[in-house]
Structure formats: structure tokens, C-alpha cells
């Protein structure tokens, strides 16, 4: 593959991805009620961009994220990483895939094991992928902590999640996601549990990381303003269907789909009329 082509292949591509959850009511009733969480989704995310996925809760945002990090398999459709289909990866190939695609989870209070120290949490990807030895790992953890804005790293090394604020916990999650130097990171509403001032700091961190490491992000949010601040392009998802895609500015200034318009109107702002 030449360099030319490389630039053109999107880093992540979803082709007609459908995800159904079957919920058998009980073993007596034969009929399964299927929940269609995602319906025929097609997306392409380019290298180095921050792609926003906006929609209200239950619209299927997290499901896309979970498909991308292989916590779930699509019912139909193909997911490609760097142009290569990734369906049904197993063993070594799956491990390799996971070192390339990482995730930051929504709830910083739930996504860190309360019984592991910060160092143990962040070091885990290195340990399970057998990278480096005890010494180099320690240095790498300290370095990553500093990048994630937890400095001095030594201060945080031996602490436990309950000793950190929500914003700090989410930075730990960021550190864990970037320590393997992945190509692509899914950030699932990383700031929905945080205060606005803390959220904006985290956004800045994501922007810095993108610049420094040329990583690509899928940024999932229900906050259009945040999407506009952070993202190059956004897709609006509603009931498992993508209703609108475009550059962030265009989608917000000139929304086409009625649902997007509704979403924009509902966004709280400072207009004191009543």
C-alpha cells in the first residue's frame, strides 16, 4: 500500500452495522423480542480527527463504542480498522486489535477498580501485553500520568481511586487508554459526570493528546456544545439510526434533519426572555 492510499483509507469504517439485542422473556415464550440498538450504521472516521457522536440516551451511542472496542460483535455489517475487516477476531489478533483501539468510559466512579492502586490500574495494559520490564513500566506509567495532567506522577502512583476527585479519576482513565499508544480512542461521554470547569480541562487534555500523539478520537456526547468545541465532524444519532453527518459547524449552524433542530433548540443557553 502506498502512502497516498494510506491517507485516504479511513482509520475506522462501519459498513451497514446493525446490532440487535435479543431478550428472551423466559424459556417458555418462544418469541424473542429483539431490541434493535443500531440499525444499518455506516460511518467513516479519518485519521487524526475527533469525530463526534451526538444523541440522547438510549440512542445507541455506547453500543457503537462497545462494538468498536470489541466488547460486542455486530449482528450484521462490517467494522474495518485501517481498511481491514475486524469481525470475529480471536486470540492474538484480538489482543493486537485492542492495543490499537482503546476506550474511556463514561463513569469515572465505576471504571476504576476500587481495589487497585492508580499505578496498578495504568500499568495493566503494559502487563497484559507483556511490554517492558518492571523498571521501564514504572517510568512509562509516571510519564503517562504527567501527560494526563496528574503531576507529579509520584504523588498519584500509590493512591487509590477513592482518594481522587472525579476529574482526576477520569484522567487516570485517559492515562490507561493512551499508555499503549493506540491509534484510536473511543471516549464515551467522558465528562457527563463532571463539573463544567473540570470538563473543559479534560477536553483540553484530549486536544493536547491528539496533537502530541496524532491519535484519532470518537467522542460520544449528548452535549452539542461540547461536540462543537471539540469535534471536527459530528454525526447525530437517533433511535439507532444516524440522521445527519457533517462538519461540526455545518451541522449546528445549518441543521437539516428535524431531530437535529430539536436537539439544538433544547440546548440550554443564556437567553433571558421570560
Amino acid at each position: 500500500m502506498t502512502e497516498e492510499q494510506n491517507i485516504q483509507t479511513p482509520i475506522i469504517e462501519l459498513n451497514g452495522v446493525t446490532k440487535e439485542y435479543s431478550s428472551k422473556k423466559n424459556f417458555l415464550s418462544k418469541g424473542e423480542t429483539n431490541i434493535i440498538a443500531l440499525n444499518n450504521i455506516s460511518l467513516a472516521i479519518q485519521k487524526k480527527e475527533i469525530f463526534g457522536l451526538v444523541g440522547q440516551s438510549g440512542s445507541g451511542k455506547t453500543t457503537i463504542g462497545r462494538l468498536l472496542v470489541k466488547l460486542e460483535e455486530p449482528t450484521k455489517g462490517i467494522i474495518k480498522l485501517n481498511g481491514k475487516p475486524t469481525n470475529k477476531l480471536k486470540g492474538k489478533a484480538l489482543k493486537h486489535y485492542r492495543s490499537k483501539v482503546q476506550m474511556i468510559f463514561q463513569d469515572p466512579y465505576q471504571s476504576l477498580n476500587p481495589h487497585l492502586s492508580i499505578a496498578e490500574t495504568i500499568i495493566e495494559p503494559l502487563v497484559v501485553n507483556k511490554i517492558g520490564n518492571a523498571l521501564t513500566r514504572r517510568d512509562k506509567v509516571l510519564e503517562t500520568l504527567e501527560i494526563a495532567g496528574l503531576s507529579p506522577g509520584e504523588d498519584f502512583f500509590h493512591r487509590y481511586p477513592h482518594q481522587l476527585s472525579g476529574g482526576q479519576r477520569q484522567r487516570v482513565a485517559v492515562a490507561r487508554a493512551i499508555i499503549l499508544d493506540p491509534d484510536f480512542i473511543v471516549a464515551d461521554e467522558p465528562t457527563s459526570m463532571l463539573d463544567a470547569t473540570i470538563a473543559i480541562q479534560l477536553f483540553q487534555l484530549l486536544l493536547d493528546i491528539r496533537k502530541k500523539f496524532k491519535m484519532t478520537f470518537l467522542f460520544i456526547t449528548h452535549n452539542l456544545a461540547a461536540a462543537r468545541y471539540l469535534c471536527d465532524r459530528i454525526a447525530v444519532i437517533h433511535n439507532g439510526v444516524i440522521v445527519e453527518t457533517g462538519s461540526a459547524d455545518k451541522v449546528i449552524k445549518d441543521p437539516q434533519h428535524p431531530y437535529t433542530k430539536k436537539l439544538i433548540l433544547a440546548q440550554p443557553g443564556f437567553n433571558f426572555k421570560n
Binding site: A196, F203, Y229, L263, A266, G269, F270
Partner: protein
């Protein structure tokens, strides 16, 4: 006379490390039919204020000083018995994450009827059920959904039912603690409209608590900005949000993303949460303030009057210096 007048109220929590001064020397008042908003980041003491006004502070908490005058009664000196008669009738509260507070095995209308009956034991059955219907039409839950169980409701409808429950006894004051935090923007928008509509229709007073400044600005005409247990700025929403004067209010506003203002965002420096246990006497925001004045760290700031309604807890010369920049 104001419906509620809180003066120099301090509330603390006993903890192993010492007294957590969660609410410190705050004063505010609210007139009948007005809406007052409290904004500030989590941990600044908003819920503590709400719980104090409801007499629902946990065991380890106590009112350290101050008066809470509601309609001529001093709530700060109420005992349990007085609170039981008072709570829900005169003041009611919509709790944080209240959607999960509905009893899953009792029909929604029965839950609300129960609240009415507790406070009006003499009321007849048919009167109660009429009252329930009236309230439900107020919060726009269709009548045929009255006899549903809570799990049959969507998140937004549950929140409406909770609001209905708070309205059950026609209280004079409703305290809403982050009533929309767990909801979607679209549902949030509906609920906020609902609260505004009800407030107008019934002429109740509302104390609205949120960490989201735009939400508070949407609902409330008067605003108190809180930081580290202090109210640091108060005024009408135009005063506070259009011409903020306290450095903390400026930080809050400067980092708030809206659809229009996303380019001139100031990313605040990584800050430490204020220490609520050791009382240095200085301004609690001083460590994070960019005024970098020595004075703030040791001297207690005072209220500076900026207009008849607008006040900031800071030093006058610092406020003015900032203005000249």
C-alpha cells in the same frame, strides 16, 4: 416580608478529620412567587442547604449557627415532631436523582394520594382523588396514565410524577435539587418549562439548585453563586450572568460551553477543591483566583454592593482593579 429569610447560616458535618464546614455564614431571602437559583460545582454545599431547609440533615450534621425564618417560624429551632408536620406541607423538595424514589410496587396516583392524606387527614376520599387529578393535569401527565406503576413511565414522566408529588399539598416553597441532571437535553427542556409554568400558575416560590449555570439561568430570576460553602455573588440573573464581578463567577461563565460561545473559552487551570475543614479566615477561592493578592489569603472578604440587588463577596479594590483591566 420575605417568605423565607436565611441569616448567617452555617452547617457542618462531623468527620474523622474534623468538622467539614459545608455551608458557611450564608444569608439570602426569597419572596413569595419568586425563583432563586443556587449554582456552583459539586461539593460546594448546595444539597446541604436544601436538606437544611427540609430538616433532613443526616445524623452527623448540625446547624452551627444562624436563623431560618419561614413565614415567622424559625426552622433552625424545630424539633422532629414540628418538622414532620411541616415538611412536605409548607416546603417540599424534589431530590437529586428522585426518579428512583418512586415506590415500584405502588400505583403512581396512590403514592401521591398518600402524601395528601398524611397532611390532610380530614380530607375525604373523593376530594383527595380530585386533588390528585388536578395536580396530574398540571404536570401534564395524561389521566389514563394515573393508575400506572412507576416502571411503566419514561424517565421524563417519572420526573413529572415526582414534581406532582412535591406539589401535592400546595406548598409555599419548592426546593428542586438538580431535578434534571439525569435527564436528556430534550426531556430536560420540557421539565424546565414545566417548572416555570407551574411556578407562575401557582405563584409558589422555587429554590432551584444545579451545577449547570445555563439551566439555573433558564429557570431563576435571582441567582446565588456558591463556592466552597460560601455564597460569593448574588443578584438578578442579568447582573450575575451578563456582568459577573466575582472572579469565581467569571471562571464559571468563561469555561461554560454553549452553542454560540465555544471559541473564546478560557480553560481554567487545574485546581484543587477547597479545603472545607481548616478555616484560614481568608477567601476560600484565593488559592485558585488569578488576582494573586496577599490580602485574600489572610483577610476575610466582605460583601461589596454593586447595585441594590447585586453583591459580591470580595475586596472592593480587587473587584475594581479587575474592571479596569
Amino acid at each position: 416580608m420575605a417568605l423565607l429569610k436565611v441569616e448567617n447560616l452555617s452547617v457542618g458535618y462531623k468527620s474523622k478529620k474534623g468538622m467539614v464546614n459545608a455551608v458557611n455564614n450564608i444569608s439570602f431571602s426569597i419572596e413569595q412567587g419568586r425563583s432563586l437559583g443556587f449554582v456552583g460545582e459539586s461539593g460546594c454545599g448546595k444539597t446541604t442547604i436544601g436538606m437544611t431547609l427540609m430538616g433532613l440533615l443526616p445524623e452527623n450534621a448540625s446547624i452551627l449557627k444562624g436563623d431560618i425564618i419561614f413565614n415567622g417560624n424559625n426552622l433552625a429551632s424545630f424539633n422532629d415532631e414540628k418538622w414532620r408536620a411541616f415538611r412536605g406541607k409548607e416546603i417540599s423538595m424534589i431530590f437529586q436523582a428522585a426518579m428512583n424514589a418512586l415506590n415500584p410496587v405502588i400505583r403512581v396516583d396512590e403514592q401521591i394520594a398518600e402524601v395528601i392524606q398524611i397532611h390532610n387527614p380530614a380530607m375525604s376520599k373523593s376530594d383527595v382523588s380530585n386533588q390528585v387529578k388536578k395536580i396530574f393535569s398540571l404536570v401534564e401527565i395524561p389521566e389514563d396514565r394515573l393508575r400506572d406503576f412507576p416502571h411503566q413511565y419514561s424517565g421524563g414522566m417519572k420526573q413529572r410524577a415526582i414534581i406532582a408529588m412535591a406539589l401535592a399539598c400546595a406548598p409555599k416553597l419548592i426546593i428542586a435539587d438538580e431535578p434534571t441532571t439525569a435527564l436528556d437535553v430534550i426531556v430536560q427542556d420540557q421539565i424546565l418549562k414545566e417548572i416555570k409554568k407551574i411556578q407562575k400558575a401557582l405563584n409558589t416560590s422555587v429554590i432551584f439548585i444545579s451545577h449547570d449555570i445555563a439551566v439555573v439561568a433558564d429557570v431563576c430570576k435571582d441567582i446565588c453563586v456558591m463556592y466552597g460553602g460560601h455564597i460569593v455573588e448574588k443578584g438578578t440573573r442579568e447582573e450575575v450572568f451578563k456582568s459577573p464581578r466575582h472572579p469565581y463567577t467569571k471562571t464559571l461563565l468563561g469555561s461554560y460551553l454553549t452553542l454560540d460561545s465555544y471559541e473564546d473559552i478560557n480553560v481554567p487551570e487545574i485546581r484543587e477543591a477547597p479545603d472545607l475543614i481548616t478555616m484560614t479566615g481568608g477567601c476560600r477561592f484565593s488559592a485558585n483566583c488569578n488576582c494573586k493578592s496577599q490580602k485574600c489569603q489572610c483577610q476575610t472578604p466582605e460583601w461589596v454592593n454593586l447595585s441594590s440587588t447585586h453583591q459580591a463577596l470580595c475586596f472592593e479594590e480587587l473587584l475594581n482593579k479587575d474592571k479596569n483591566d
